[in-house]
């Protein structure tokens, strides 16, 4: 009989289990505390530790009263946006400037994230009386959202944002510490440990792909505050975006809005990889600069955030979060200031109101 199948004493068996459980738990907790509390989306989905990729410079606080969200009927400006707008951080600058901004998401359009051919009429029917609509999208998803327009005729309903202390989008000033009731989880930790070991080996290859995230060798210590600043992490989608070729649909929606007296502003937020690695670097499909496509049509108002952000990211450290696909609070507030300035110019009828 195999010696391992032979009975051992109950005490020995029990102690083997108990010691194993505690050793595993202690290792898991050590990883939790060493890797630090998860905050960024890239660190979370890519299993990269916050200890290595979390930002170290504190972020500014945003006054809670500037997180107002105006209902459709009261808003001067309606933002249709994605996760870059859901946090309402950049809009806080417009609100502080006295503008009434309402924000709704692409998902709330209930058209599988497509714009409708009758967007202008539908917004008026929904009660929007304002003059401006900002259509905000991250660069990598814009082609997917614009390649087909929706024929939907369902009424548009904007949900009210309930602002209270539980509203999860207030940006942190400092990253939070690990607590026992909010753990990253040992499953995340085991993969993070593996990635940490691989990165510490100074891999000869240029990338480390983990889940939907790529770590890229990068001379970023002047641009980011995270510890492992010779690596930067990017979401895989930044390199796999579809080639933009939907300008005709943009023009259709633009016209639909202008017909009912709404001025659209197309706010295409560049991907983190575009800002830090350059236009079209490492992309799988042929790259089309969206802002250049827009610039060929003078009837479109579309700030060239590509060039603006590339420039600003060299002067504002952690302009994008090192651990996240999104802008830092500093980055969002800059975007808010940029937009506020642009609106002043727009209201003063200046040419190229959103030029840097």
């Amino acid at each position: 009989m195999n010696v391992h199948l032979q009975p051992i004493s109950f005490k020995k068996y029990s102690l083997t289990l108990i010691y194993s459980f505690f050793i595993m738990a202690i290792i898991a907790w050590c990883m939790e505390f060493y890797f630090e509390r998860l905050y960024g989306d890239l660190t979370r989905i890519g299993n990269f530790p916050e200890h290595s990729f979390g930002w170290k410079s504190d972020q500014p606080a945003v006054l809670p009263e500037n997180f107002k969200d105006y209902p459709m009927a009261e808003a001067d400006i309606l933002v249709i946006g994605d996760s870059f707008s859901v946090s309402r951080v950049w809009q806080s600058k417009l609100i502080a400037d006295g503008l009434k901004v309402g924000t709704m998401t692409w998902q709330e359009l209930r058209t599988d994230e497509a714009l409708r051919t009758d967007l202008g009429e539908a917004l008026r029917a929904a009660g929007f009386k304002g003059r401006y609509v900002i259509i905000e999208s991250i660069e990598r998803l814009f082609q997917g959202r614009m390649k087909a327009l929706s024929p939907s005729r369902e009424p548009i309903v904007k949900h009210e944002l309930i602002l209270n202390s539980a509203f999860p989008m207030y940006p942190l000033v400092k990253r939070e510490r690990v607590t026992f009731n909010k753990l990253n989880g040992a499953d995340w930790g085991v993969k993070a440990l593996y990635n940490t070991l691989k990165l510490s080996l100074n891999l000869p290859e240029k990338y480390l792909k983990s889940g939907a995230v790529q770590a890229v060798n990068f001379d970023g210590c002047q641009l980011f505050s995270h510890r492992l600043c010779h690596y930067a992490i990017f979401v895989d989608g930044d390199f796999k975006k579809e080639t933009f070729n939907s300008i005709d649909n943009v023009l259709t929606v633009n016209k639909s809005l202008q017909t009912v007296g709404i001025q659209p502003i197309w706010l295409i937020v560049p991907d983190k990889a575009t800002v830090y690695l350059g236009y079209g670097q490492l992309t799988k499909y042929p790259y089309q600069n969206i802002w250049q496509s827009f610039a060929q049509h003078p009837e479109l108002i579309a700030p060239d955030l590509g060039s603006v952000f590339i420039e600003k990211s060299r002067t504002i450290k952690d302009f994008y979060m090192p651990n996240d696909t999104h802008l830092s609070t500093n980055g969002f507030l800059y975007l808010g200031e940029f937009m506020t300035h642009g609106f002043h110019n727009l209201q003063a009828n200046q040419a190229n109101p959103f030029s840097p």
């Binding site: 195999n2 010696v3 391992h4 199948l5 032979q6 009975p7 051992i8 004493s9 109950f10 005490k11 020995k12 068996y13 029990s14 083997t16 289990l17 108990i18 194993s20 459980f21 505690f22 595993m24 738990a25 898991a28 026992f180 753990l183 990253n184 989880g185 040992a186 499953d187 930790g189 085991v190």
Partner: protein, 516 residues
């Protein structure tokens, strides 16, 4: 505090075990007091507001039981009156906390009145500790209770392995165990067996039930939001929930049995591979066995059981199951679920009677397979009502399961030869899951794994049967070849299971039966 939490496993449990055996070396009384105090702490960790209610209930029932027990010798009428008063008091307490809102809502709906009542917060485990004590009172009246040690009684009610979600205990099977000095001495056999059972139960909860819940919950929620599930999605939702509930509750019961055994106390068996049952009668002998026992002993038999003719027997069955359904929650879907099972039982008993009269014998493998399949399908239909938030949701799910909302398969199949053939049969190509934004691949694997474990694997108590970890082990289905023993290989297997549990333990979720 829940069993599947770090604080329970790595802080509460070791401290309580060390305290119990440490004190037990000097004083049996102190050790049981420690365990009772730890159990109250365990309860209070969840919501300290109701510790007073629990203690009040214990004090009242202990007092009532004491008086009933001592009245028996002098006046059985007085004892009976006291018993009735005590039962009414217990049911009133349960009724207020569990059914008051339900009653007012229905009254308003029926009469058009607008009686307002603040939402009553349901104290955790109230159904379990009320039923446990009701059984104690009836046992006392029937002269079955011999011991009135208050600390032991408090421990009997509050004992943390069973307090929140059962098993429902009998006074007579627990008090002798609490009263034995041996209970307070370290028994490595019990610790080894208990620890292994606890880990296996935890794995059922953390790895299987919670994973299946990731699919069952959004499907039922999507239907509640107005979605109409198509054939496969409805079946996936119903099967996921059926398996989730089984792994969740039987996992909890395994954990309770394992934990209790570490304190040298055996709890009664609560699950015995119920989905392997070949009839609904057998199912109720294997599912939540201690509740079935309670309903049989304290409701069905007092109603007359099967001794007052066939019609009365069926009426009694229906009443018992309807009230059993209502015990699970203040909602009509629970009542329908109970009624449905009552009806199943009536049909099952009727069929048995017919078989006997006609002299039909049990069939072969095919008949057994068909009986098992029919039983399982009937149970799954019942779970749809049990899980649904209201009747409309349940009917939407059942319509979907009957194919009334059409059926859809993978988008990629559309351009294949298979897809073209299926299109002729009405297939659509929107993916298998049309209401929820999740891939079906993982769910499919989980369902296969779950069904394999349920139908082809021995249950945890069968694996541990050589060491009699629970009471009434004689009820177990046939023994298994996968018998556990304390070996290096078995330890490694348990440690590997524990590793996977540990890395998923941060996704803490409560047990489904906590809400009852």
């Amino acid at each position: 505090m829940i069993f599947n939490s770090y604080v329970f496993i790595f802080a509460f449990l070791p401290v309580v075990i060390f305290g119990f055996y440490g004190l037990g070396r000097y004083s049996h009384h102190l050790a049981t007091l420690w365990l009772a105090a730890a159990s109250l702490f365990f309860y209070g960790w969840w919501d300290a507001r109701f510790v007073g209610l629990l203690l009040g209930s214990i004090a009242f029932n202990y007092g009532a039981g004491y008086v009933i027990g001592h009245s028996l010798a002098h006046s059985s009428r007085r004892a009976k009156l006291l018993l009735i008063v005590a039962i009414i008091a217990n049911l009133s307490l349960l009724g207020y906390f569990k059914y008051a809102n339900f009653f007012i809502d229905n009254l308003n709906a029926l009469t058009g009145s607008a009686i307002m009542m603040a939402k009553v917060f349901l104290p955790l485990g109230i159904s379990f500790f009320t039923f446990t004590q009701l059984a104690f009172l009836v046992d006392t009246y029937q002269g079955k209770v011999r011991e009135y040690n208050f600390v032991h009684y408090t421990l009997f009610v509050t004992y943390f392995p069973h307090l929140i979600a059962g098993p429902v205990l009998h006074h007579k099977e627990m008090m002798p165990q609490f009263g034995t000095r041996e209970t307070c001495r370290v028994n490595w056999e019990h610790i080894a067996v208990g620890l292994s059972i606890f880990v296996l139960g935890l794995a059922k909860k953390v790895l299987l039930a919670d994973s299946l819940g990731e699919y069952a919950t959004p499907i039922f929620e999507a239907v509640k939001a107005g979605g109409h599930p198509m054939l496969f999605e409805a079946w996936f939702g119903a099967l996921s929930y059926s398996l989730q509930l089984y792994f969740d509750f039987s996992g909890y019961s395994d954990m309770a049995i394992g934990l209790s055994l570490m304190f040298n106390v055996r709890l009664p068996l609560n699950f015995n591979s119920p989905y392997k049952s070949l009839s609904i009668i057998e199912f109720w002998r294997c599912w939540h066995m201690t509740l079935s026992r309670f309903l049989r002993d304290y409701l069905y038999i007092p109603l007359g059981g099967s001794h007052k003719g066939k019609v009365r027997r069926y009426v009694n069955l229906l009443i018992t199951m309807l009230l059993g359904g209502l015990w699970h929650g203040a909602g009509w879907t629970y009542v329908i679920w109970g009624g449905l099972h009552g009806l199943y039982l009536v049909i099952n008993h009727g069929w048995r009677g017919l078989k006997e009269r006609m002299g039909w014998r049990d069939g072969g493998k095919l008949a057994r397979f068909s009986a098992g399949l029919l039983t399982f399908l009937a149970v799954v239909v019942g779970w749809v009502f049990f899980r649904a938030d209201n009747f409309t949701v349940a009917m939407d799910m059942l319509n979907g399961m009957a194919g009334m909302n059409g059926w859809s398969i993978s988008k990629h199949s559309a351009d294949t030869a298979f897809g073209h053939v299926m299109k002729d049969f009405g297939a659509q190509f929107h993916g298998t899951l049309t209401l929820i934004d999740l891939g079906s691949g993982r769910m499919f694997k989980l369902l296969i794994l779950g069904l394999f474990i349920v139908f082809k694997m021995p249950n945890v108590q069968q694996i541990m049967a050589n060491y009699s970890p629970a009471l009434n082990m004689e009820a177990l289905k046939k023994p298994t070849r996968f018998a556990w023993q304390p070996s290096i290989v078995d330890a490694v297997v348990i440690v590997i299971v524990a590793y996977f549990v540990l890395i998923n333990l941060h996704k803490q979720s409560t047990f489904l039966y906590f809400q009852f």
